[in-house]
């Protein structure tokens, strides 16, 4: 197997607060290969966004403690100097965020933003950078790119603005794009457009994508590999088909069962997970963090389980006997007729 593009090893991110230490990411390890699309799924508090922000050094909090390694093309991003990291950001690893409304400084035009990024990394004239900006806007499907390059962010609709952000992110041909909930704030038909755009750009430029989302459907549509996060740890990870067809972790079962069926059938009730997603401030981490909400909790859920590879390439961190999983999954995903 070729050398991975991004190799995250035992990443831990915590924040010192007045009430104690809050652990947002609790030791995750994963790799992203060249050309891979990896989906990182989780709900609020799972640590999915924080983990990728910390890899790029974008957490502007002096009380944040980051441990572990994040090797990008062999170099550890977490120990790089500010200057080295700045050279990586935008040029080799690009990141786009959820809300296109607030992602661009409102007083500068689209062309200015793209041009700023290009000129931060390459020695080109303003004119040349602007010309490239027009090309990029065209490539992401913005009509009248030559005119629109002089438009301000508020003059674009939500979907168009996200396209501008994507154009900007890809302007220096990064090998890795991190997309943090890129379509959550958009309407579903616009979301389909943006996802299709990302997919086509990815195959055209060959960049890898880490797609952070809470939407299992988006992950299923876009990614080659899926990683499910809960409470700052990986609950399950594996090839997309494997995880979708044969999920092994009770949290993944719960997540998938919480989504109403999309095949046209209707059920009276959904097999919901009881309780609320874990708060990162909980100090007791010496057990499986999902056990508080799990139907199959037992004493073996303490201490905190590690990721185990039961099927080649497919990992999960549940201690339930592997042989029982299929049956337990069937139970977990069958909705109850009446409230418990």
């Amino acid at each position: 197997m070729s050398e991975p593009l991004l190799d995250v090893r035992d990443l831990r991110v915590s924040f010192r607060t007045r009430t104690g230490v809050v652990t947002a990411v609790d030791g995750i390890s994963f790799t992203v290969g060249p050309g891979d699309v990896v989906g990182l799924v989780g709900e609020s508090g799972s640590g999915k966004s924080v983990s990728m922000l910390s890899v790029l050094g974008l957490i502007d909090n002096p009380n944040c403690v980051i441990e572990g390694q994040a090797l990008f093309k062999g170099r550890d991003l977490l120990t790089m100097s500010d200057d080295e990291l700045r050279a990586v950001r935008g040029q080799e690893i690009a990141m786009i965020f959820q809300d296109p409304m607030t992602a661009l400084t409102p007083v500068y035009t689209a062309g200015w933003h793209i041009s700023e990024q290009i000129r931060a990394h390459e020695k080109v004239s303003k004119k040349a950078a602007l010309a490239r900006a027009v090309q990029l806007l065209d490539a992401v499907g913005i009509p009248n790119a030559a005119d629109r390059v002089n438009s301000y962010p508020h003059e674009f609709s939500g979907g168009m603005r996200q396209r501008v952000v994507i154009a900007m992110a890809l302007s220096c041909n990064p090998s890795l794009l991190i997309a943090d909930e890129p379509t959550t704030a958009l309407d579903v038909t616009i979301q389909a457009q943006i996802l299709e755009l990302l997919k086509s750009l990815q195959s055209e430029f060959g960049s890898s994508i880490v797609l952070i989302t809470h939407d299992m459907g988006v992950v299923s549509q876009m990614s080659d590999r899926v990683m499910v996060m809960y409470g700052g740890r990986l609950a399950e990870a594996g090839p997309r088909r494997e995880v979708m067809r044969n999920p092994l972790h009770p949290y993944t079962w719960g997540l998938m069962a919480s989504i109403p069926p999309t095949d046209g059938t209707r059920v009276a009730r959904l097999a919901a997970i009881p309780g609320a997603p874990i708060s990162p401030g909980d100090p007791d981490r010496d057990h499986c963090l999902f056990s508080a909400r799990c139907r199959f909790v037992s004493d073996t859920c303490r201490p905190q389980p590690e990721l185990v590879e039961h099927i080649p390439g497919h990992f999960d961190s549940c201690v339930l006997p592997f042989a029982d999983r299929v049956e337990l999954r069937r139970q977990a995903m069958t909705p109850l007729e009446v409230a418990p």
Binding site: E43, T189, I190, D215, I259, T262, R266, A268, R269, A276
Partner: protein
Amino acid sequence: MSEPVVDEGGLLLKARQIAKHFPIRTSQGKQLVQAVDGVSLSVRAGETLGLVGESGCGKSTLGRCLVRLLDPTSGEVIFDGVDITTKSRRELRTLRLGFQMIFQDPYASLNPRRRALATVEEPMLTHSLGTNAEIRARALMLLEQVGFDPSYADRYPHEFSGGQRQRLGIARALAVAPKLLIADEPVSALDVSIQAQVLNLLSDLQRDNDLTYVFIAHDLAVVHHIADRIGVMYLGELVEVGSSTDVYTAPRHPYTEALISAIPVIDAEAEMRERIVLTGDLPSPIDKPAGCAFNPRCHYAQDICRTDKPTLQLLDDGREVACHFPL
């Protein structure tokens, strides 16, 4: 070609040609936002009608017009046989006991300075629905019904999670024992696992309290799950109405078809399947296209679609579609 005819007997809510226009001043002068543009619908007692659509389709505005949180520019809303659009504020007050609303943002719709119990008691106190002791007892009962332990009664909204706040909003809405509940995107702001809990709660409450729902959302999968009938809205108009499963599995309006196709599904087998991806942006309700509002983005558009506006018609299979060439 016929006007949809429904048996008037079991109808709890009937809306006729509701329109809501907002005059605004833009750089082009005075313009009109046609948020809702002639919508007629009906809801039977005990059923759930889902209203689905994307930004700017007018579903939230319509929801507010149905309970007269906004006054419709024209049209009538008849609730339980009474035309509420012509009633004065004073007369509406007692009528409002029959219909209530729950909102999308559970934090913004709760008074942050009021404890949970007081929030649920308030509507009952406003309408003097009993002695203080009776009201308090009923409020505690409602909190339990939505899944709260009695110890939560003294907490403030900021001490609740998003899903819990939404439950509180539901309890408050049920305080006056309404017959109709209009839910405006009640689960859109919640995590997926919490969303499922709240949806289950809404189903249970409907069954236990004999409620009728109008469920407004942009997520067609969620609406398909909870609603018996679905109305699809686009740019202020109803483009398709029908039974939930029928609309979802066999859409007959091109927009519905594209909407369903756009939903990312957990389909282990599918690679990028053949999807209908609409081009262009959602047009603005200020500058609606001539003819059929959907024609600029429609794959099946023909000349007549650009000039003649189709009206909602009843087809032989019970579906209502506003299209010159239903699928």
